[in-house]
Amino acid sequence: MTELLQNLIDGLGRGSIYALLALGIAVIFGVMHLLNFAHGELITVSGYVSVWALGAGLSWWLLVPLIIVTSVATSLIIERVAFSRVRGANDFTLLLTSFGVHFVVSAIFLLYVSASVKNFSRPGWVADTYSIGSLNIEVFDTVVIIVTILTLVGTTLLLQRTMFGLALRAAAADFDTARLMGVKSDSVIRGAFALSGLLAGIAGVFWLMRAGSTTPSAGIDPMLKGVLAALIGGLGSLRGAVLGGFALGLAEVLLRSRLPGDLASLTEGVVFALIAVFFIFRPGGILTVATAERV
């Protein structure tokens, strides 16, 4: 029982980061039908900014807003340079464009920094834990969960209570109709990329605090987790993306602690394989989005 509760808390902490990443991917999928394989690059760029800033003696307190600004700016630049040019293209083109962006960004760091791992110092409290009864809880997980909840509440308010949120949801439901109703596609799409960058920035702060290092291809892992979580939740559903993120985090923690010794190192592989099986039985994800094709 205690172990299960412990897993639950660990899983929530891990899942929070995935949920933020998945939400950012779902927001863009909603307005552009683009599954963004370049989402992890926001964390790669933030990672190298962290290496530089911490090396220059900046404190983590100042680095946090810097990472978030970097992430939003990178997201907007990528939209401007690449994705704005393929708006309305078919899914095949969109997928490969984001794949191409991933490679160009990581290749730039390969070219101008190096292929090797760059380390930076993590804040001291990341490894601290405290106990409630027999539970061992990381300070880090606690912060992550609280910040994530606040972010999700904020995002919900943004989507429900503001004109931008309404425009975004309308565009996600039916982009063409939304445009006919006066929604400006440019500003909605840029807003979506900014929001996606903001969410990735918050996730990135935690991701980098935990990792303490970066490489040119560091974006692959967060991208994959975010994409899978968004898909598990049901592509196109924002609520589903968040649910999918938590589900993925829990699945990872549960498997890692339950798999027998030999298989524990294969946790990631087993999780991906389970996800593939999950899709066979529920191809639309947890919250299936009804899409009827007009005949």
């Binding site: 078919n90 997928l95 464009t97 290749a107 991906f272 005949v295």
Partner: protein, 635 residues
């Protein structure tokens, strides 16, 4: 398996030979010009890459599904091959604890290659089921993520199961001298890969897969089961990739997890899309272009301008000529092509198809007119008490319909009356909430669209669904291919004759998406007739046509149906068209049948006048005042 031996077997064989010769020739030319072991190796690697890229083309090109997983299949094949083919002595050094007694396995590399292909095919079959379940169709996002997950699973397993794979750092290596020392096997495999890829594309399965790539729903409505064709394409594709991957391992003499991961996926995908993913010729062109570009940028990155003897050591371009420049080159190539030419340089241009078209098929003779079938095989379509509810909306309430072969039945009603919903039920695209339908007593309710099409219910679409990049002739040919297997007991008409009969002869080699509206409608009709259906269900065949065109369409529908002995169910809201064409008419209003009978009877029916025509009884065209329910009607 093949329709026309000249076009589908001989031409691809000759074309493949030419492509193979060109690829090998360009490699040998480069080798002769540059010389040295490095150039020889570069060409060998290019030939192996070509095998793998052609293999990937078979799947991505013919199905339109973007796969990141083929290099994952390559990893499976590569490791299977290495574990089986490396000598026991060598394995004992790296993976002494390998499971299943694999350390002691000692077999010839060719047997190992065969087993590696078989093992990978098993994995492909499993993934194929997942892809099918996820609703794989052209551009399907979920399918792509499944393939991406496969790539990661294979990589994770390779890294974290050192007992089998030698792990992340050491990997597996052949003993020096054990590895491949001749190019002959690579050349054989390459020629085989090109030939198989071309023959698959011209085969029945390949053509049906391409139809589904162009329009999945329309393909199903023509009796194609896309999932079967996609599975065939996947297995052939993975078999070729497995051979290429095994040869790659054999040639390099070693394998590491990162050899078959993201960067190789990028390389092979860029090669595929630059030349044109829908064409084998394009895939090979891309292989050559990207090999050249990659080698050039790699050298520029290493040596700067010195390569060309210009010697600008401190050139202002220093900032760009840095190591790993080739990775930037590949990523940027991918982006630029996606932005400016997503279908690649050649799109779907194919050397052998072009040559055949240009030099052999030029003087085809226009076939004579088709006779109408006097005695059509009798068939009876009966729909009983069909009700459909969408959430809270009742689209159809206990509707019924009867039609016999040789007869034209019109269904008329305003927008939102449920006309299209009825056609959707009869072709399996909407499941009825209640009720059933049958042809000549055979109950068909609940069957998928492609089975209903094979059973003889073929439809056209209100908003036109042709196979856009296929030619007019090829559009009709798809239906004829299905007819030969599933409608053989009926009179099947020649493709060319049907094309001519529909007035499309002069357009026969144009792509369907280039046709004007009226011509497209006629093509849909010809395509439906080619299936030799028992009943053709025509959904507003004259929508968007002028009065003169509509009038011509009446005669065309009647004649085309008669040449294949099909009954016709035609829906429209144009009263003039319906009364002009129909033997009997069913009137629908708000989901219910309110009258049936001959055109005269229906027009005289007071309920029809009151409920449907309203005060506009004298008008010939009826439009519902509001389109509030159109969305539901259209689905």
């Amino acid at each position: 398996m093949f329709q026309r031996p000249g076009r589908d077997i001989v031409a691809p064989f000759l074309g493949s030979t030419v492509l193979f010769a060109l690829l090998l020739g360009s490699g040998l030319l480069y080798q002769a010009a540059v010389g040295g072991g490095a150039s020889e190796r570069l060409v060998t690697i290019m030939l192996i890459d070509a095998i793998i890229v052609v293999g990937i083309q078979v799947y991505i090109g013919n199905t339109g599904v973007l796969s990141f997983g083929h290099i994952g299949f390559g990893a499976i094949a590569g490791y299977a091959f290495a574990v089986l083919a490396i000598s026991p002595g060598e394995k004992a050094k790296r993976i002494a604890d390998a499971p299943f007694g694999l350390v002691d396995v000692d077999m010839s590399p060719w047997l190992a290659l065969l087993l590696a292909v078989l093992i990978t095919l098993v994995a492909a079959a499993i993934i194929g089921v997942g892809l099918a379940r996820s609703g794989a169709e052209s551009g399907a996002v979920a399918a792509t993520v499944i393939t991406l997950a496969l790539l990661f699973v294979s990589h994770e397993v390779a890294r974290n199961w050192p007992d089998l794979t030698g792990g992340d750092r050491a990997g597996l290596s052949f003993k020096i001298g054990e590895s491949l020392d001749s190019r002959i096997p690579i050349l054989l495999a390459l020629f085989g890969a090109i030939l198989i890829a071309r023959l698959y594309a011209t085969s029945r399965s390949g053509r049906l897969a391409v139809a589904a790539r162009e329009d999945n729903l329309a393909a199903q409505a023509m009796g194609v089961n896309p999932l079967v064709q996609q599975m065939v394409a996947l297995l052939i594709s993975v078999a070729i990739v497995s051979v290429g991957a095994s040869l790659r391992v054999y040639e390099t003499g070693s394998i590491l997890p990162d050899n078959f991961f993201f960067s190789y996926t990028l390389l092979t995908l860029v090669m595929l899309i630059v030349g044109g993913r829908n064409s084998v010729t394009g895939a090979l062109l891309g292989v050559v272009m990207m090999t050249v570009g990659r080698e050039a940028t790699r050298r520029l990155g290493q040596d700067g301008f010195e390569l060309f003897g210009i010697g600008l050591d401190d050139a202002p371009l220093d900032w760009i000529f840095r190591e790993n420049l080739q990775t930037v080159f590949l990523g940027v190539s991918m982006l630029l092509f996606m932005i400016w030419r997503p279908k690649g340089i050649l799109d779907d241009w194919e050397l052998d198809a072009w040559a055949h078209q240009r030099f052999v098929a030029v003087d085809a003779e226009k076939p004579g007119p088709l006779p109408e079938l006097g005695e059509a095989p009798a068939a009876q379509l009966e729909a009983r008490d069909v009700s459909v509810r969408f959430g809270g909306f009742q689209a159809l309430t206990a509707a019924h319909l009867d039609a016999s072969s040789g007869e034209i039945v019109g269904i008329i009603g305003p927008n939102g009356a449920g006309k299209t919903t009825l056609v959707n039920v009869l072709t399996g695209m909407v499941a009825p909430t209640e009720g059933s339908f049958a042809i000549s007593g055979e109950r068909l309710t609940g069957k998928p669209p492609f089975q209903l099409a094979r059973a003889g219910l073929v439809r056209t679409f209100q908003n036109l669904r042709l196979f856009g990049s296929l030619t007019v002739r090829e559009n009709v040919e798809i239906a004829a291919l299905v007819a030969r297997d599933h409608r053989a007991e009926r009179t099947l008409r020649d493709v060319d004759a049907l094309v001519a009969e529909a007035g499309l002869w002069d357009h026969r080699d144009r792509r369907a998406r280039e046709l004007d509206y009226g011509t497209s409608r006629r093509l849909e009709l010809a395509r439906a007739a080619a299936l030799s259906p028992s009943f053709m269900l025509l959904d507003e065949p004259t929508s968007g046509m002028s009065d003169a065109e509509s009038l011509a369409m009446v005669e065309q529908v009647r004649h085309m149906a008669a040449t294949v002995g099909a009954g016709v169910v035609v829906i429209d809201h144009d009263l003039g068209f319906i009364t002009g064409i129909s033997d009997r008419i069913t009137v629908l209003d708000q989901g219910s049948v309110i009258a049936t009978g001959t055109p005269e009877e229906v027009q005289a029916d007071p309920r029809v006048q009151a409920a449907y025509l309203g005060s506009a009884a004298e008008s010939t065209t009826v439009n519902a005042p509001a389109n509030a329910q159109q969305g539901i009607d259209d689905v």
